[in-house]
Symmetry: C2
């Protein structure tokens, strides 16, 4: 810290100061000095100088030379959502604990954007990439492949790279069963009392819909196609679907399964425009967990996907190198209404 304001110190500066050669300084500072048989005393001198001058390696130079940057990327559809932001949080912690630098970017569910963003990341020579919820995982895969970048899919599977996803079918079964049972406490439930809103033409949605229909048919005997309303992932579209149902029936379905918390935001938009009575006794299942969503003024069953476990498994797969393009399922958990789970925030120290 003796040289505040000056340019950052380099190994050449330390080389001058210490009398050692730049390569020796480099070796000392990157830890490879024992292998290079540098004297303990020399190493200590250099480390002392490095501390005094607040030396930190220029990681771009290091990355350029060694073609490893220490950057690990996480590609998200969006930040602004508890599922993905909590994934980002665990991701960061895990990357940081491995001594690497997390790089979280979002691509807005746009396949074109996904590829462009990944190209950019590759230009920074990132070492590994987690592709979460990509619209076109295989398109992204090809870009990575070409650059020799190790990667895994999270949340939405691809066919060309290992994928780690939530067990959507099982999760949807649990959730569907939970809302049916809860709804039946208020009286018999007929098949068209139970709807599904949200999701689109992706693997996760398919599996969730399949799980929903399996359980619904088993417990209620039927599932008319009209009860499945795939509205895409936008709150606006979802709100429109609720609105449409409401116009047709003068109420909402007694119970329904909402594909994600983003879709659940669509329900909020609907609610904002209607009086309490409209939804006095609905039962909702939402495939995502949100601490506030869990306390809405009607029962909301939620599914908490274990993003932390997915990230952990992702690293395991990347470390194992050259894993086959299989899909690993991670079991989610059912969260009953009015539940406040602890999350990554609780790891924070917040001394007063």
């Amino acid at each position: 810290m003796t040289d505040i304001g000056k340019k950052k110190a380099t190994i050449y500066d330390l080389s001058m100061l210490s009398g050692a050669s730049p390569s020796t300084v480099s070796a000392v500072l990157n830890g490879s000095w024992r292998k290079r048989r540098i004297k303990e005393a020399t190493a200590q001198l250099i480390q002392k100088l490095a501390n005094e001058h607040g030396y930190t390696a220029n990681l771009q130079a290091r990355g350029l030379r060694s073609s490893r940057s220490g950057l690990v990327g996480l590609l998200l559809p969006v930040h602004d959502n508890r599922y993905f932001s909590s994934m980002a949080q665990s991701f960061e912690a895990q990357v940081r604990s491995r001594g690497q630098c997390p790089l979280v970017v979002s691509a807005c569910r746009d396949p074109e954007e996904e590829r462009k963003v990944v190209e950019t990341l590759i230009s920074y020579s990132i070492d590994e990439l987690f592709i979460a919820g990509a619209t076109d995982p295989d398109g992204v895969h090809k870009v990575c492949e070409k650059a020799g970048l190790k990667h895994v899919n999270i949340d939405l599977p691809g066919t060309l790279a290992p994928s780690i996803i939530s067990d959507n079918h099982e999760g949807a079964r649990m959730l569907t069963q939970a809302i049916i049972e809860r709804a039946q406490e208020d009286g018999p439930l007929s098949p068209d009392d139970l709807y599904l809103f949200g999701g689109r033409n992706d693997h996760a949605s398919h599996e969730r819909i399949r799980g929903f229909r399996d359980v619904k048919r088993a417990l209620l005997g039927a599932d008319p196609d009209v009860c499945i309303q795939p509205t895409g992932y936008s709150p606006a579209m979802t709100a429109r679907a609720f609105e449409a149902f409401y116009e047709g029936h003068g109420k909402l379905p007694r119970a329904f399964f909402v594909n994600s918390s983003i879709n659940l935001e669509g329900l909020m938009r609907f609610l904002a425009l209607h009086p309490h009575e409209t939804f006095a006794d609905i039962i909702v299942g939402c495939y995502d967990y949100d601490p506030f969503g869990s306390f809405l003024p009607f029962p909301v069953f939620m599914i908490r996907q274990d993003s932390e476990a997915m990230i952990t498994k992702g690293f395991a797969i990347l470390d194992a190198d050259r894993g086959p393009a299989i899909t690993h399922l991670v079991r989610p958990t059912l969260v009953p209404p009015r539940t406040a789970l602890i999350g990554p925030l609780d790891a924070l120290k917040d001394i007063e």
Copy 2:
């Protein structure tokens, strides 16, 4: 795309292929070729080759040489929260639209971690840094200063760099007034019917508390100190404070101001352990907006901070270069209960 699987093409490869020198190739590909008086035909040839081979510049090399990386950092306390994740979302969009690469990292409200993370970012030669909600903005400032890194504070002000923050005092006044008026609809409100929970020893909390007390004293005539319960920023601590109040009084305060959505999560934890009757008629104000928080089973007034405007202003200040260390206030908005605002997600295309 003719060389799938091979290493990435460099300007040297294109130099060979085109017969031009590397510097010419470089000039063509980085756009400076007109200044360097390269023939149009040469430029086109090189660009064609670059496309065919899927050339993308190695940004580490470029950054090393030009000492500008094209990276812009955003330092957050945490990801897992609607306020910050939506800030990240706007930040990304704005950085991307300026042709740079966003780098969002969190430092868990730990001053030490904040400095370390910023050191790391500096090692990657980031060009600019947004410091959002730093526990120790001035400590971070010094680190930036030393490296000659341009930066602004967002959300929590420092004394050494320009800061852009929410007008916490005014926001708190609006919020306090709103909950008082709403509570008075149910009957007269005495000073100890109105509490404030959350926040700690930072500028934002101080201002909010000041705004709260101003309005409360003006409208209710007094504000006993016991009504201010600064619990820090953790949900667990906040839950404990509610629990303590409840044990003492057998109920929650009729109305209360919660310092942030993270603290509001603490309320959820409390609620999970108590029956509905406990909070049948509470009125809540929360200094943060969350779409689900707005629809809880009691009136929740919220403050929406305009993170998008803050980011925009941040760029304006950085672009203006060498701004003085003043604090700019951005006016937040009061959000009445049961309101679903549109957010950054609505910018997404989600064609079905």
